[in-house]
Subunit: 68 residues, 6 copies
Amino acid sequence: MRISARNQIPGKIVQVAKGQTTAHVRVDIGNGVIVTSSITNEAVDDLGLKPGDDVVAIVKASDVMIGK
Amino acid sequence: MRISARNQIPGKIVQVAKGQTTAHVRVDIGNGVIVTSSITNEAVDDLGLKPGDDVVAIVKASDVMIGK
Amino acid sequence: MRISARNQIPGKIVQVAKGQTTAHVRVDIGNGVIVTSSITNEAVDDLGLKPGDDVVAIVKASDVMIGK
Amino acid sequence: MRISARNQIPGKIVQVAKGQTTAHVRVDIGNGVIVTSSITNEAVDDLGLKPGDDVVAIVKASDVMIGK
Amino acid sequence: MRISARNQIPGKIVQVAKGQTTAHVRVDIGNGVIVTSSITNEAVDDLGLKPGDDVVAIVKASDVMIGK
Amino acid sequence: MRISARNQIPGKIVQVAKGQTTAHVRVDIGNGVIVTSSITNEAVDDLGLKPGDDVVAIVKASDVMIGK
């Protein structure tokens, strides 16, 4: 399945931190940039996310702001 | 001003396309990755965004999904 | 690729309306419910979205509110 | 009060799981589809959300992606 | 209907600007603060939004960032 | 750095409640209105957010709905 989200950045998981309902997943996208994703624990379990996994960080264009 | 958003990725604007109310700004963040941002025309005008500008693509952690 | 978004609802596209930069895609998910999605024109072109297509409406859990 | 969000899907709550600050509410919208919503504990308490409640899952059109 | 969104700020519409698919609605919430909302043209028509209307600007808590 | 988000409302923090991964920050923006923000614990620590701080509540225009 392909998805409409314009931003799909490949990287590698460097950390998965689960809370009671919400988890934070950190993805190294290269160039020294770490992207942080806040998703449900269920999503972490469902996809079996763990450090070292090759993944894609996905962001809808309407959720990207510009700073200058 | 510093902001709480966990993802602040530096890059350079490569394209600004304005519609009637909504503009698309494309930012080269290196490694061949282009990030697309959908913002208001007013924001483009207010910040004077144009190709070649050094900017930061900003995304709240809760707006990042993971694909695997 | 599987994605972390908790809500992935299958349906059929019933309308695609493009503006200058932003398109509205309407998806019939059954039971008489039509879901409206606002995405970039580029996404519509990239995925070749058109009425009759079998698609999936995808929503991150943190973007769902409850009314009662 | 009517709201601008284009997607307002009726259903019935099947589960409420509270964490320390964030709760997950699952809503059966029929056809075997369960929608997951991530909201604050305060919202759960304020609206008195519990399994069996007839509710509406609300999503802004700009938060809906399309997969194909 | 009450909704789970934690931020519901009363104000008065001061401008409605429609594009081809997306409209910008500006709401004066007092204290000299104008809130800008980007919604579909269909929502504007459906609710009959126009300058002078008493409305509520609604924002989910997970969509609010903090700058300091 | 200036950012594209159209809504940047000044206020004062009245409460910071941290969960295991997600924190809720409440900001008094005047006129008796309290804005609730849901952000990561890391953001709270990184910016050193605490009651009494003068801050800005930031919301992208595409995340604002209208109720009438």
